[in-house]
Subunit: 123 residues, 2 copies
DNA sequence: TATTGTTATACTCTATAACTATA
DNA sequence: TATAGTTATAGAGTATAACAATA
């Protein structure tokens, strides 16, 4: 928790945290508004607002679902992908600087720990 | 970041995140309102409100600084300490369940990684 | 009828600006 | 004058309730 707090506070970007978080959800595939709301742990009306704001910023686009007329499909625009990559690069840079001073053995321990935690979190 | 997200979302307590965070800052010693605002990355008026809400809930108490009449010193009450302990226990429990399935070697790797990251974050 | 999403409305958290009290 | 904190006011983000459109 302390590490994540430091990264959030110190590698701060132009994007509000909940905006960053939604862009990250869209990385792999377009997603319905409802699914986004579930994953972000907010109610549908809140996500409607957040998506409207991201659409205004041209970071995401809405398209209709050809199979189901009720559904709103949200996808990253090119600008959205670029923004996501930039923000992630800032976080990576913050961490890279701090890991440089470690020994190879320490870095190797962190690599193994990361693999373990990825499995833990995937469950 | 993904681990911290899961812990926040799934080990959810009664306390709003920014309330939890302020209580955690007060764990070791009473703190001025201004210092709290700095550490929580909010402006003084926001912290005035947050502290007022915690005072209403009797989780913190305000006392005057004997040396400087301008300063408001904020400290945990007994109820605040108990609340903090309870919330932390929930987070610990969430994680403990997930670490039980790991081998001893894997758990040892995580212990060593934790020590390394504590040094990284302390800088 | 049930589901997906939006609109209306209110509450909370945040901020900036202006103010009070103390140094 | 400068600093610590509060009050006034406004802008986001969130929620619930009521609604529209589609299945």
């Amino acid at each position: 928790m302390r590490v994540s707090r430091r990264v959030r506070f110190e590698s701060e970007g132009e994007l509000a945290p909940h905006h960053f978080s939604v862009l990250a959800q869209l990385k792999d595939a377009p997603t319905t508004l409802g699914a986004l709301a579930d994953r972000e742990q907010v109610r549908a009306p809140s996500m409607t607002r957040t998506v409207a704001s991201l659409v205004d910023a041209e970071l995401v686009a809405r398209t209709a679902d050809p199979q189901d007329g009720r559904v709103a499909l949200i996808a990253l625009t090119e600008a959205g992908e670029a923004m996501l990559a930039t923000e992630r690069a800032k976080r990576d840079a913050w961490m890279s600087v701090r890991l440089e001073g470690l020994t190879s053995a320490e870095q190797e321990t962190l690599r193994r720990a990361t693999e373990i935690m990825e499995r833990v979190v995937a469950r």
